[in-house]
Symmetry: D2
Subunit: 325 residues, 4 copies
C-alpha cells in the first residue's frame, strides 16, 4: 500500500523503513528537510509539504502521523482534515491521550475522514524486532489497513505459543490487536506504559538494595559486595523475573557497572500520569504504578519543601536540629 | 515519693523537674557531671555513681532510666539489677524496642526486680504541658507508682471531655494509661510515633503542593503565590485538620516563611521502623506509615542507584539520554 | 448585611443560622420547601424561587451558593448571572473544583458580576465552633464581604497565639484568609482535604496495628489486648499526635469500642482526587496522600481483578492454588 | 557426582531428576516414603533415614537440603552436622533467611562441615527449563560443586548474549553465580523475590485498570470492553514489558478470561517481607516493593479496623453514615 509518514524522527523513520522493507510505498514529510532526504535516500518518496504529500496519492489517502503528542499532532491532524477528501484515513501513531483521540475521531468524522489511533511500542529496537501495536478505530478501516500493521509487527517469531489460545484470530500473536473504537488503542498503550513504570521501579528498588548492601550505612560485618552485572545476567536464565527490561539492565550494567554516566534525574512522559488519572476515574487502587511515577518526580529534586517542613516540626517538638553544617 | 532519675539530658532533666514541682524527691545521676549539678541547683539530690544513687534510698528503690535506647539503656539496667534488692523497681522511660522490654522484664524478674516500661511523649514542651505516658508492667507496681505518673502527666486541663466515656478510671483523661504487661507501654508509644510520621508527612506533602503552585514548573497562568504562614494559621481555627503538629508548623513558618534554615535531610528513629516491622508481623497494610518513613530515607540521598538504573533502561529501550550536562 | 443563602442542607442552614446569630439578614432558598420553612422559623426570610430571592434585595445582591459541586452549583450560578445586575456578588461556598471557579469567574465577569470562591471547613460542628474559610476573588469584594466572614469564622477564641506572627492582618487568626484570586480559596481547601485524607489514614493504620496485636494472626505469646478507647484518650493529652481528628476518634471509640456499626466501606469526594491531580501537574511526589485515597478505593471492593491475576501468576510459576474452598 | 537430596517435594524431586538426567547419582530421602519410592522408580537411590543416607557415601558427603524454611530445615541441618564427618558439605537449597545461613555456616564450621546456601528460582518449570541459582559459601567448595550446578542450570540456550559482557567467567550466562560468602546466595534470591512481588503487582494494577474500564463505575460513554487475553498476548511481542511473568499471564487468561476460579486472596512468603526488612536496615526507600507486599495483605481481609475508623471520623466531623444497609 501507499502510505504517508508525517514526522520522520527516530520512531517515524524506523516505521517508514520497516514498511518499505515489507513492500509498501512510503511518502515522507518532516519539518526537517534532512530527515526527508534521508528517507528518500533509502527508497522513500519525498514530500515538501502536507499539501505536496496529499497530492501524491491516487485514490484513498492514508496519513500516518508520528509526531510529539499535543500541539504538533493536533494541528497536523486539523490540517489533514482540511486537505483530505472523504474516505481518507488519518492514523495517529504517537503517544496521544486517548480522550484526544475520541474528540478527534468525532471531528474527523464530520469531514468523513476516518481516524485510527495506534499505540506503538518497540522504541529504537522496533526496526529490527518489529513494533507491538494497539489499535483503536472502526473495524472496517482497521481491517483495510491490515497489510500495514502486518508489515510493522514482529510476527510470530520463535516465541513459545501460549497454551490454550483460540487461534481463529492470530493478530495478537503476530504483534498487533484491534483493541476497540477510537481511543482504545492509545488507552491500552497508556496502561502498557504505566505498567512499564512499575516494572522499572521494581527492578530499580531491588538493585538499589543489592547495591547498598555494600555501603557504609551498614556495620562492616553485615555487608556484601555483590556483582550486580552477574546478578542481572543470571536472572535472565530460568528465573521468574526474566524480562526484556532485565535484558536491558544486563546490557547497561555490563557496560558501566556503577552507572556512573547517569545523573539519576529521570524524566516521565504523559502516559504514566494518565494511567494514574485513569486509576482515579475508575477508583482502582494503583499504589505501585503511582509510587513508580513519584519516584521519578522525586529523582529530579535535590530536596523538597515538604522535607524541610518535617525538620521544622521536629525542631518544634523535639529541638532536633537539621540545618546545613 | 523518692525516685532516681538516671540520664539527665533534655528529657530526663525535664521529667525530674516536673516530678520535683509535684512534690517528689529526685536523686539524679548522669555521666555528665554538669547535668547532675544543674539538677542539684534546682533542688535535686546529686549522685556520683549508680552505686551512690542506690545508697540514697531507705526502702524500695525506684530507678527511672532515661537514656538512649540500645546499649546505654541495656547496660544500665543490667547494672541496676545487680545493685538492686528484691522488690526494687526499674522503669525504662526511653524509646526502647518493646521486645527488649519483654526480655528484660524476664531477666529482672529472675532477680525479683520489677520492670516497668513507659513510653513518654511530650518532647521539649513536656515540662510545662506535662508528659503523655503509656505504661507496661505488673498492675500492682504500676498502681504503686501512680503518684509519680500523676505528677508527670498533663492532667485534665481545660480539654473538652470526650462524650460517652465511662469515667470509672480517669487516668487516660489525666494523661497516662496502663497499657498492659511488660512491653505494652513501649508498643503503644511505638505506634504513636509511627502515626506521628504519617501525620507529619501528610502535612509535608500538602504544603509542598501549595508551595509548588507558585513555581515555574507550571505555566504562568496556572500559578498561585500562596501565603503558607497564613494558611497554617487559619487551619488552626475550626478546620478538620487542626492539631498540635499544625500549631508547630504555624510557629515554624511564622519565623521563617521559606524554611530556608533547614537542609531538608530528615532523620528517623527506631520507632518508625519498628512500626513497619509490627505491620509486617501482623500482615497489616500500612502504606501511609511506610511511605512516610521512606520519604525520610529518600530525603537523605542526593540520588539513588535505582534512579540511575531507570535512566539506564530508558537509554536502553528508547535512546533517552539522562546524563549530567 | 443582607445575604441570600441558596441551598439549605446541613451546611447551608448552619451557615445561615450562624450569620443570623451574628446580626446578618439571611434570605433562604432551597428546592426542598421544608428547609426554607425551617430557616424562616428561626428568623430567616423565605424565598420561593431564585427570582423571588433576587427581588428581596434593595441594592447590591450577595448570593451565597451552598450546593453540591458540579451540575447543581453550575446551573444555579448560570441562572444567578442572568437574574443578577452589574455589581452583584456570587459566592460559591461549596466544594467546587478550583478550575471551575476560574472559568466561572471569567464568565461572571462578562456580566459584571463578581465571583468569590470560599472553601469552608467545619462540618456539622461549624455552627457552634465557627467555620474555617479560605477565600478566592477580587480584593475589594473580599474586603467588602468582611463582616460576613467575620461572623462565620470561629474568632480567636482561647487558642494559644502563634509565636512570631506579624499581627498587621489578623484575619487568619480569626479563622479566614483571602488566599488569592479566583479559585485560590478552593485550591487551598482542596489541599486541606487532601491532607485530611492523609492524617485520617495515618491514624487508621496505627489503630489497625494496635487492634491486630490481639489477633490470632500472631502467636499467643506475642499478643497484647489493648484498650484502644483509652489509648485514643491518652494521646489527646500532651502527645505529639493530639488533634481534632483524634478527639473524634476518642468519641467514636468511647461509644463503640469495636466500631462494629461501620461497614468499612469508605467514600471519597472530589477533593482528595483533585489533590492528586495537582500533585501530578506539579510533579510533586505525594505518596502518603495518594495511598490514603487508594485505601478508600480498596475498602469498597471485596476483591480486585488484580488480586486474582497475582494468584494466576503464582499458579503459573509455582503451582500455588488460591481458589475458594 | 553422588549427592543426597533431602526433601522430595515438588522442588526437591525436580532437582533430583534434573541432576540424574545430567549424569549424577542421587540418593533421596523424604519423610513421606512414597516420594522416595517415586524417585527410586526413576533411577534414584532410596534412603530410609538420614543415617541410612549418610551411609551411602564413600568419601566426602554432599547433602542438598530442600525443605521448608524454618524449623524443618534447621533441625535437619543440625542432625546432618552430627551425622556428617569433617569435610562434608551441607547445601541449603530452600528459601532460608540469609541471616540464618550466616549463623548456620558458623556452627557447621565448628564441626568442620562446609555450608553452602543456594537460592533457587525456576518453580515447577525448572525441570525442563533449568534452575537459576544464586550461591553463597566458600569459593573452593562452590568450585568443587560446579558439576552439580552446571547440570541444574538452564545453560546458555538460544538467548541473545548480553552486549559488552566480559566472558572470562560464563557461569552467570549458564544460569548460576557464586554471589559471595555464606548467606549471599539467599540474600540475592530474597531480593529476586522482592522484585518479583513488585513486577507482579505492576501487571496486576495495570490489568485491573484495563478490566475496570468496562465497569459500571464509569459512565457508559467512557467504557471500553477490552480483550485482556489478546492484550497480554500482544504485549509479548516486541513490547517493552514482555517478560516471563507476562507469558504466564497470557496462559492464565487464555484458559480463564475472568480468572473466576481464583478467590483473590493472595499468600506471601518470607522473602517479600525480608526484602522490606533489608530496605529498612539500609534506609533504602522501597515504595513499590512494599506496596506490592501490602496489596497481598489487604487481599486477605474483607475489611480492616482502620477502614472502620475512617468511617467513624467521617461520621464524627461530617455526619456521613457508612453503615451496612
Amino acid at each position: 500500500m501507499r502510505l504517508a509518514m508525517i514526522g520522520l524522527g527516530r520512531m517515524g523513520s524506523n516505521l517508514a523503513l520497516r514498511l518499505m522493507r515489507g513492500g509498501h510505498e512510503v511518502i515522507g514529510f518532516d519539518n526537517n528537510r534532512a530527515n526527508v532526504d534521508a528517507l528518500a535516500a533509502q527508497g522513500g518518496i519525498a514530500a515538501t509539504s502536507l499539501e505536496d504529500l496529499a497530492g501524491k496519492f491516487d485514490g484513498r489517502r492514508i496519513f500516518w502521523v508520528m509526531l510529539p503528542a499535543g500541539a504538533p499532532t493536533e494541528s497536523t491532524i486539523e490540517t489533514l482534515c482540511k486537505i483530505g477528501s472523504p474516505g481518507d484515513i488519518v492514523i495517529d501513531g504517537g503517544n496521544s491521550f486517548y480522550k484526544d483521540d475520541i474528540r478527534r475521531a468525532k471531528s474527523c468524522s464530520d469531514c468523513q475522514i476516518h481516524y485510527v489511533d495506534v499505540g506503538t511500542s518497540g522504541g529504537v529496537w522496533g526496526l529490527e524486532r518489529g513494533f507491538c501495536m494497539m489499535i483503536g478505530g472502526e473495524k472496517e478501516i482497521v481491517d483495510l489497513l491490515d497489510p500495514v500493521f502486518d508489515a510493522l509487527a514482529p510476527g510470530k517469531g520463535n516465541l513459545v505459543p501460549t497454551r490454550g489460545r483460540n487461534l481463529s484470530d492470530d493478530r495478537a500473536e503476530r504483534g498487533y490487536i484491534h483493541a476497540g473504537p477510537a481511543g482504545a488503542g492509545h488507552f491500552v498503550k497508556m496502561i502498557h506504559n504505566g505498567i512499564e513504570y512499575g516494572l522499572m521501579q521494581a527492578y530499580a528498588e531491588g538493585f538499589d538494595i543489592l547495591k547498598t548492601k555494600a555501603s557504609e550505612k551498614l556495620p562492616e560485618e553485615e555487608r556484601y559486595t555483590l556483582d550486580l552485572t552477574d546478578i542481572a545476567e543470571v536472572w535472565r536464565r530460568g528465573s521468574v523475573i526474566s524480562s526484556w527490561l532485565l535484558d536491558l539492565i544486563a546490557i547497561g550494567l555490563a557496560g558501566d557497572h556503577d552507572l556512573a554516566q547517569f545523573s539519576g534525574r529521570v524524566a516521565d512522559s504523559g502516559e504514566g500520569r494518565w494511567t494514574i488519572d485513569a486509576a482515579m476515574e475508575e477508583a482502582v487502587p494503583a499504589n505501585v504504578l503511582t509510587a513508580a511515577l513519584y519516584a521519578r518526580y522525586r529523582s529530579r529534586s535535590d530536596t523538597t519543601f515538604g522535607d524541610k517542613l518535617l525538620s521544622a516540626m521536629r525542631f518544634g517538638f523535639g529541638g532536633h536540629v537539621e540545618m546545613p553544617q
